[in-house]
Amino acid sequence: MTIARLYLSDDTSSRAAGAGRLAEYLRARADVQLIRTSTRGAFFLEPMIERDSPAGRVVWCNVTLNDLPNVIAGTGGRPVDTIPYLAQQSRATFANFGITEPLALDEYQSRGGFKGLEAALALAPPAIIEELKVSRLRGRGGAAFPVWSKWQAASHTAADDKYVVVNADEGDAGTYCDRMVMEGDPFRLLEGMLICAHAIGATKGYLYCRQEYPAAARAMRNAIRKAEEAELLEVNGRTFPIEVVMGAGSYVCGEETALLESLEGRRGVVRAKPPYPAVSGLYEKPTIVSNVLTFATLPNILARGGAWHASLGTEGSRGTIALQIGGRVKQAGLVEIPFGITLRRALDQFGGGMAPGSQFKAVQVGGPLGSLFPESRLDIPICYEAFAEAGAILGHGGIVVFDQETDMVALARHFMAFTADESCGKCTPCRIGSVRGREILDLVQGGCGTADDLALLADLAETMKVTSLCALGGRAPYPVLTAIEHFSEEFNNRLKLTGGQADR
């Protein structure tokens, strides 16, 4: 009997697409050897099943139970390389995705894993930081702060203990690349943490994972155990313990200082900066807090050199960006490409245009605090500098497309209500401003608002932007204001007629 060796993703979204039922069936077959891999990130094609061929992997897409006889017999299927969505990407951080078993350490190593750490170990800490400076890597979580600069500050601060903290509180709706990294290539994240630990002389690592990601936390705990057994978790000849800590549903805990408060077990309330965490962070010790994707980018930078990373992208945005396209598009999923492609091209080339029956209305980039773009503004290049110039943010790379059925007033109200729910309460502009903002939008949505209310909202938004302590309050007005700016008619049509007796 010939045994068919089949690859099926075990990613949370693959399971949500039905991979679990396929696995159940395949496991019961004596003529099948089933390997659970990470996902390719082409979620619109999930569940996908792959098998080896002399010319590389062959894939069956959107597989149902009825398709399995064909898959097992090896009939049909197409080379993975012929899927344009995948072939047109430049995968670096996500190069292993869809190919390897997430927890197979030997497989990770045979595909270049821990080469970055090896390179880092051959360098003195200042030389590692110099390499990062050359790479011009900026933090991928949203703030886009130059990574080397944080490391320099932490390494120059003398302390008995220093910490490396992974921000895995990926709270922006529309984003999931951190979840993919943790579930699909956990050793890459650990390698990035170890590189950072060597550079700053850290004594302990933490991974603060949002509660909504149980599979990611499980994968990381297992990866940590395997790395421990392989004696990989060592820094300067000392054990470097890494602990996974779960959050409890607070969005603002993705802000680095609120995250540190939460890690210490308190209310996740934002701290005033300075001092910055790199100087005084967790338990007032020098702490590097960076997003999952930032750490996962490090192994390639050290292995291939900072110059390699700096050669990709645009002037102010080097390397690749992980776009996560969702909403009413045909082809939702992860796209890793160098910075610089226009938003329009990203939506056409990768998003594949609108879902059947949908017409484009607006796209939000950068999560719930990101600006909305109408059709006329889609030619903006996807890079930090162009977005900054437009008063927008790339955030964590989330792109959500809305169609003609979207009620912009309701959506604006949804954004403000979100901030009101999630505000930590430390600063007044965010705590009170978001509630007042929601109330005004409630009035407008209910047909009781006036032009004066919208003027008041604009004024309030300006105050929140300028005076809030962190990006939650500071950015919250942007999606609301861009909705009003680009879809003013919808707002004006909902206003109550003012003046005279008409509204009595």
Partner: protein, 156 residues
């Protein structure tokens, strides 16, 4: 009374007492209690405060801050419906209504709410397969409202 209802509570709290000189971690303590009991009884607040050497206000403050810490027993099954932007774009309010309708009319039981807890959540990282619904640890993508009755069937 709490002690009688939750015989293990004192031991759980004691196990969270930090080794000196470390400071107590309130969030971790409350999550440990929740993991053991399914929720954190309000009556546990003074006990936690006493054992960890903090004020009751400290404990209550952390307890009320985090949305995922419950103070009441959840239903046997917890249904979470995503309200994130990608799910909003893909008509998740209709999914929410379908779940409510199912529990109100479709299940044919006097008090389905004791068996099911329904929560609107904000993003489960399944945005490429919106709209998303999770029942306990099972996550479902591309959920059309019409699919709710058959999706819920195994959990009745």
């Amino acid at each position: 009374m709490t002690r009688a209802r939750h015989p293990g509570l004192a031991d759980i709290i004691a196990s969270c007492r930090p080794h000196r000189p470390a400071k107590p971690n309130l969030l971790k303590t409350l999550l440990t209690i929740q993991q053991a009991l399914g929720y954190v009884p309000i009556a546990a607040v003074p006990q936690v405060a006493q054992v960890l050497g903090v004020t009751e206000a400290d404990v209550a403050g952390v307890l009320s801050y985090y949305p995922d810490i419950r103070t009441e027993t959840p239903g046997r099954h917890v249904i979470r419906i995503c309200m994130g932007e990608s799910c909003m774009a893909n008509r998740c309010p209709a999914v929410f209504r379908a779940v409510r309708d199912y529990l109100d009319h479709g299940i044919g039981e006097a008090d389905p709410r004791s068996r099911f807890t329904v929560e609107a959540v904000y993003c489960m990282g399944n945005c490429a397969l919106s709209p998303t619904v999770a029942v306990d640890q099972d996550i479902y993508g591309r959920v059309e409202p019409e699919r709710i009755p058959s999706l819920m069937e195994p959990y009745r």
